[in-house]
Amino acid sequence: MELPSLSAIGAQAVSGLTTAMLLFLVASGLSLIFGVLRLLNFAHGSFYMLGAYFAWQFNAWLQDSFWLSVLFAAIATGVLGALLERVLFRKFYDRPELMQLLFTYSIVLIVSDVVKYIWGTQQLGVRRPEILSHTFQFGELALPSYNLMIIVISLVIAVGIWLLLQGTRLGKTVRAAAFDREMLSMLGVDVRMLYLLVFSAGCFLAGLAGALVAPMSAIVPGMDADIIISLFIIVVIGGLGSFWGTFLGSIIYGMVFSFGILFIPQFSLFAVALIMAVILIVKPEGLLGRENTR
């Protein structure tokens, strides 16, 4: 087998980065929710899907105003998340994990049919905005400006959330809640409100990701199930509850998948599942995780 050229490898690395950043955008919400609320939200993929569908809908209503549609879609998803948290999700915080998982799975089932009912089974599409239709050409490497935008936004969000958690009072409160919520409520913090905020922020991120990804791929029923497994792999590799772990996990996933296609085309799917298994066997708390796992 001929070895690919250096620029081909470079191109593959960039495409791996794009995949990684895209997934990170979605996974960040999942990681946040698990980190603080200790809830593994199977339905996170559904919020992602809803973000995409909302984006399409707002696009249709607002006559192709891309950025506004994305913003509204993300907000709508966040608001829906807040509503669902208030009514349903908060009942499950202290329940056994099996119940939590099965409950969130029930939400997946319900949302998938509701989406089908409202928008039908036809595939929907959203157009990229004019200013982002250009493609940068670096020798052999073709980088669409839209992909670059996704990479930039994901990085901005990553740093932004981190700064928020480290630097602001709100962030410190959120981190404290992850450690010891009883103590926190005794100190007078409205923990319920905090949980609501965090959950809806997580859903906002998922919706934002869905809305941003929409012009690149297809808006179709089933996109929720497709992504949730990738998300689980990422957060497990990086470490459940670790923010930078999720970032690292996304990079690893993206790169392994991308280079897998180049070097071991039959098995790139198998490779990521294998890495997940290896991490769980060797360092189950994940690369950057600190949980007790045995």
Partner: protein, 324 residues
């Protein structure tokens, strides 16, 4: 004295059930035979999962993988290698058990959500292998056209030469499933069953009383995997085909839901859950395509209000009656 009676009653009831089910092909229209065949296999599968979830507290997300491994083993041996049914079925159970041993060895070292994640990871690996090994497994398209074994000896033995392959095969399934259920019953009512429950309640404490929890967990994981493999082998022939779908995580989720719906706190719960959901699925699909929605609502209500499933409901009902 009383417990002996209870046991004898239970045995009698189980035998009656077995004979009753066995009589079905003689009287009922072919559709019921097919439906019950499906239900029997799935019930066996969800009961095998319950050994892990209900009795030992091990929430496996990848149980369908061993079902799938068994199905592929049986299907491949019967269709491509032309081996007889008995051999293929044993191989199915063996491959299921082997896969479970491989995965279980690593999984039982972890707890809670990490255990579940690793079972999921292993099921994805097994699935990816079947999916990509196109030449052997037929890849995404799977193996279709798996033949029925030669069962004319059954119809002759029963004096009913008019029996179709489907009807004779139903009886074979019934016998195999009954053996599996009997085995599971023996395990859970033995001291081993008590140990499993102890591990479920508090694993740390059970080590204090000298239980080798890891070994026990691995053992039950393998047993569950073997039975799942046998169910898979039965299903491969029943379905006349094997597809990688059988091992995908959505199938694992289905089995888990069935077990929960019936009640993971009891022996027969998952069987009842499987039968009920299969029935509901069929009837619902006849007039609407929104089965996911219906299942989601059922699951939602279940997790919110009735975590002990149908069996729990039944027990609550009979208890209130008795107290009157």
């Amino acid at each position: 004295m009383k417990t002996l009676d209870n046991k004898r009653n239970r045995l009698l009831m189980a035998t009656a059930l077995f004979l009753g089910l066995g009589a079905v092909p003689f009287f009922a229209p072919p559709f019921y035979v097919v439906f019950l065949n499906d239900a029997l296999i799935i019930a066996c599968l969800s009961m095998s999962l319950n050994l892990l979830v209900g009795y030992t507290g091990l929430i496996s997300f990848g149980h369908a993988a061993y079902f799938g491994l068994g199905a592929y083993a049986c299907g491949l041996l019967m269709k491509s290698a032309g081996l007889p049914f008995g051999v293929s079925l044993v191989a199915a159970g063996a491959l299921g058990g082997f896969g479970a041993a491989l995965a279980g060895f690593f999984c039982v070292r972890l707890n809670r959500v990490y255990f579940s994640m690793l079972t999921l990871a292993f099921s994805l690996i097994f699935w990816a292998i079947c999916f990509r090994w196109n030449d052997l497994t037929g890849g995404d398209q799977g193996l279709s056209g798996i033949p029925y074994p030669n069962l004319t000896w059954i119809s002759q033995m029963l004096g009913r030469p008019d029996f179709s392959s489907a009807q004779s095969y139903y009886l074979v399934s019934l016998v195999v499933v009954a053996i599996c259920i009997a085995a599971m019953w023996i395990i859970v009512s033995s001291p081993v069953g008590l140990i499993l429950r102890t591990i479920r309640e508090n694993e740390q404490r059970s080590t204090f009383i000298g239980v080798e929890t890891r070994r026990v967990k691995l053992a039950i994981f393998i047993v569950a995997g073997t039975i799942a493999g046998l169910a898979g082998g039965l299903f491969a022939i029943f379905n006349r085909g094997v597809y990688p779908d059988f091992m995908y995580w959505t199938k694992s989720a289905e089995i888990l839901i069935m077990a929960l719906f019936g009640g993971i706190g009891s022996f027969w719960g998952p069987a009842i859950g499987s039968l009920t959901l299969l029935l509901l699925h069929q009837e619902t699909l006849a007039f609407t395509e929104y089965w996911s929605f219906a299942l989601g609502i059922i699951l939602l209500v279940l997790t919110l209000r009735f975590p002990s499933g149908l069996w729990g409901l039944f027990k609550r009902f009979t208890n209130t009656r008795r107290s009157k």
